[in-house]
């Protein structure tokens, strides 16, 4: 029995309220319901109530934007469920959790951003859009920061290729130095012509000239 996509949002928002209703302790239900109210207000952009800036796990619950496209004529989904999940792994949840949409929405029920983004993905899938078109629609709405990895184009090429270039350059440097050392060793190993007669170069030059009859 797989998940009923799209309906998760309501349950997430109302979770604390339901938790309060279901709780046996009457007194606690009041304060938990207050927490639920705070969560809901958070969804209505009153981030001062739920947003906790000193908290490591602080979330900006108002970060979701609308990503909509009109359905294509006679639209039928061309993206399978598995492909949709893969697609959501490429889109970053904007609540500040640093996770992708799939991981966040299936993990953190207090986040209201990833379910909202998930609903937009579903709407686009049902509207007949392909994976890349959906990604593009999200980039249009949020900017490139919505992608889990930068596009391989323009300035971002620097991000993708610099590590490889650095390693290759390091490898080339090793080869370069090794060859230079080899050459130096070989040069040092070549036997220098020895002067058997023990004469200086000037004396030898003079002798050479005398033999030729120049002197």
């Amino acid at each position: 029995m797989t998940a009923d996509i799209g309906s998760g949002m309501t349950s997430r928002r109302g979770f604390l309220a339901r938790l309060a209703k279901a709780s046996v302790t009457g007194a606690s239900s009041v304060v938990v319901a207050r927490a639920a109210g705070a969560q809901q207000r958070g969804a209505m952009h009153d981030s001062s109530i739920v947003r906790d800036t000193t908290n490591l796990f602080a979330m900006d619950q108002s970060a979701a934007r609308t990503v909509q496209r009109p359905p294509k004529p006679g639209a039928t989904p061309i993206v399978s469920l598995a492909q949709r999940d893969q697609l959501e792994h490429r889109i970053r949840c904007q609540c500040g959790c640093t996770l992708d949409v799939f991981t966040c929405r299936t993990t953190d029920f207090s986040c209201q951003v990833s379910p909202a983004m998930h609903r937009d993905v579903i709407a686009l899938v049902e509207g007949g859009y392909g994976a890349q078109e959906i990604i593009d629609a999200f980039v249009d709405a949020y900017g490139e920061r919505v992608l889990m990895a930068p596009k391989k184009s323009g300035f971002n090429l620097l991000a993708w290729f610099a590590p490889g270039v650095a390693v290759l350059a390091g490898g080339a440097a090793i080869v370069f130095f090794l060859r230079r050392w080899d050459a130096e060793r070989e040069a040092a190993a070549i036997p220098q012509p020895t002067n058997a007669v023990g004469a200086t170069s000037e004396e030898l030059a003079r002798l050479d000239a005398a033999v030729r009859g120049d002197e």
Partner: protein, 678 residues
């Protein structure tokens, strides 16, 4: 005690300033009275920082909510163990903790080096005191844990419940112990550059402390992975988060250093490179602290708003500038005493290992800072997440794994063909058999196949090395296998401890490759309903919902779901997952609700259940994830820790010189293997 602690912090500031000044002055003028005074100043700084720390601990344990730090990080109902660990859970406390560890390390390092490294002591003391001065000044002026509130609240805010976990209690101090330990090799490297004593003298101290740093960073990183896995609930253990990356960077360069230092010890080579690695490891530790503390990763503009951001940036660039200058003016003194003779030699393999380790470090650093660079260059704000890091680092990681096996098999100086044939036959065959077996079993993922083949190859290398050593002991000393193993390791801890670390690395890589086969399932179950699915090994699982329950504890409201799990029809047990909403004494919510993950672990597979939400009264939304081989991450990490301990364990001088590394390599013919001490 709290007041004494607060005053001690200010005295420590003066002591560190004094120690810095007189140590450098003593080093320059060679005046022993100044040098001694500087050393005593360092010891006094440690005493004062210790008093300040005791003061903060006293404030925490007595729950003195008049202090902003105490009120902001603990509550009246928190367990004492987490009250104790909250010392380092906030910015101000962690700055003081840095200073405490550094002053303690510095005191030990200087006290144990005063005789052997007399020339270096004033410069090392001055450098350590200067670093201490920075951290104590930051604590005093920008993040003071003794700052008082204008009123005393009845209760504190408490610690985030996700941090109230044994893994999280131990993970930060281990990381700090590792981070801070990089300062000692740095201080001695700077001292050696200042004093122009760049012979082997400083290497002994530096290697021990680099090893200690590596050891604690390893433990800290693995504990952090474990905490993320069991506590955060997103299903993995490494997300390439900037904070994670910050701890990984000095680990990589320290690992590179621990390999390349062997070449300097044996052959007198890579002297410049080793100094650079020591310096870079420290700078990366500072950089890691800077990027996690300054908020610069979130936005290039938020760094100036952070109280400590500009201080850290200044300190980082100051250290970098001084280091570059000193290395530059001492380049001539760092000339190698020997040269690499062949691309097929142990030295070359270590050089390739260094290249790959530093390549990974650069890739991680580059990916971490690229969003800042992009923003600073006026480009759109971007995210550099796991897809980038995996794409770039997986090939480099596999190359590193291959070198882990290749390095120990090649002879020093120049390997002969017969040496290569003899050494590589067994391990290569092992790798090949593993690859063929996995292909026959249906594995088609190329990266995973390469990874497992290489795991087989490296395992073959390790087994072969132990086998040869034990056989040698058996024939010479008549030892049994067990006695031979124990004595082999005991007689040459560096070499065989290193192999134990390599065995841990193999386990980690096997586990990482296993994650290529993980599967995630989004499930909605009503009470009594069942969900059936196959795991990556092809076993049929059946999960039956036992219903949703709610409860209210003193400090939290809980909602839980239990799944009765069956594998191939055999009952496994109940796997339950919870959502917890922590509340204060008046039941006001304190934090975002958190997940308690349900994990069923076997050697082959983790079944990981997360309660994602509740619909209606008894319909649970769950995520079931099958994570293959995860337990081998923890076992591998533990083995690395054991290997690190074996390498670090003090060895008698007589034995150490027999170990081969302390001695200069004898003049052998290329291709001739150095005999293994047995």
């Amino acid at each position: 005690m709290i007041l004494i602690g607060e005053l001690s912090l200010w005295v420590a500031l003066l002591m560190a300033a004094w120690s810095t000044t007189v140590s450098y002055a003593g080093g320059a003028s060679r005046r022993s009275d100044l040098i001694d005074s500087g050393v005593r100043g360092l010891y006094a700084t440690f005493a004062m920082v210790l008093l300040a720390s005791i003061g903060l601990w006293t404030a925490l344990m007595t729950r003195d909510f008049s202090l902003e730090y105490v009120a902001g990080h603990i509550s009246a109902s928190m367990p004492s163990i987490y009250v104790f660990t909250s010392f380092w859970s906030g910015q101000a406390g962690s700055m003081l903790f840095w200073a405490l560890i550094l002053s303690m390390y510095g005191t030990i390092a200087i006290a144990t080096s005063r005789v052997r490294n007399r020339e270096l002591v004033p410069w090392a003391t001055g450098t350590l005191s200067a670093i201490l001065l920075f951290f104590i000044a930051t604590t005093c002026f920008k993040a003071n844990p003794f700052t008082r509130l204008p009123f005393t609240p009845l209760d504190g805010r408490g610690m985030n419940p996700q941090l109230q976990n044994p893994g999280m209690a131990l993970h930060p101090p281990n990381l700090y112990l590792g981070y801070v330990a990089t300062a000692i090799p740095f201080a001695f490297a700077i001292a050696a550059l200042f004093a122009r004593r760049l012979d082997a003298e400083w290497l002994g101290v530096v290697r021990r402390w680099a090893l200690l740093s590596w050891f604690f960073l390893t433990i800290g990183i693995v504990l952090g992975m474990w905490w993320a896995y069991v506590e955060l609930g997103w299903g993995g253990y490494w997300a390439w988060d900037p904070v994670e990356n910050s701890s990984f960077l000095p680990w990589l360069t320290t690992t590179a250093f621990l390999h390349s230092i062997m070449i300097q010890e044996k052959r007198g080579m890579l002297r410049k490179w080793n100094v650079v690695l020591v310096i870079v490891s420290f700078l990366l530790a500072i950089f890691g602290t800077f990027i996690t503390r300054s908020g610069v990763i979130e936005s290039v503009h938020s760094f100036a708003q952070s109280p400590v951001g500009p201080w850290f940036a200044t300190f980082f660039f100051l250290c970098t500038g001084i280091s570059i200058y000193l290395v530059g003016v001492r380049l001539h003194d760092l000339e190698a005493k020997a040269e690499l003779e062949s691309m097929v030699s142990r030295e070359a393999a270590f050089l390739y290992n260094n290249l790959v380790l530093c390549g990974i470090a650069f890739a991680v650093l580059w990916g971490t800072v690229f969003p800042i660079l992009s923003e600073a260059a006026g480009k759109p704000k971007i995210t550099v997440g796991p897809p980038f890091f995996n794409a770039v680092n997986v090939p480099l990681g596999l190359l590193l794994l291959a070198l882990t096996g290749i390095g120990p098999l090649i002879a020093w100086r120049k390997a002969s063909v017969s040496n290569l044939r003899r050494q590589f036959a067994g391990p290569s065959l092992t790798g090949l058999v593993v690859a063929i077996a996995l292909i026959a079993l249906g594995m088609r993922d190329v990266y995973a196949l390469i990874a497992y083949a290489l795991c087989g190859f490296v395992t073959g290398t390790i087994v072969q090395e132990f086998y040869k050593g034990i056989r040698a002991r058996q024939s010479i000393h008549g030892d049994s296998v067990v006695t031979g193993f124990v004595r082999l390791v005991a007689r040459n801890r560096r070499r065989y401890g290193g192999y134990i670390v390599h065995a841990g690395i193999v386990m980690l890589f096997a586990a990482f490759a296993g994650m290529a086969f993980r599967s995630e399932h989004d499930v909605t179950l009503k009470t009594g309903e069942a969900y059936e699915v196959r795991d990556p090994y092809g076993h049929q699982w059946r999960f039956v919902s036992q219903g949703v329950s709610t409860s209210n504890r003193v400090d939290r409201d809980v909602i839980a779901v239990g799944l009765e799990a069956f594998r191939d029809g055999k009952r496994i047990g109940i796997i339950s997952s919870e959502k917890r909403a922590y509340v204060d004494s008046r039941r006001n919510p304190l934090f975002q609700p958190i997940t308690e993950v349900g994990i069923h672990t076997t050697a082959k597979l983790d079944t990981y259940v997360v309660l994602a939400g509740i619909r209606a009264r008894d319909v649970a939304e769950l995520r079931v994830t099958f994570n293959p081989l995860v337990v081998w991450v923890w076992i591998g990490g533990f083995l690395m820790m054991i290997g690190g301990l074996v390498v670090m364990w003090p060895q008698a001088e007589r034995r150490r010189t027999q170990g081969g590394y302390a001695a200069v390599m004898p003049p052998t013919q290329p291709g001739v293997e150095i005999p293994v001490p047995v």
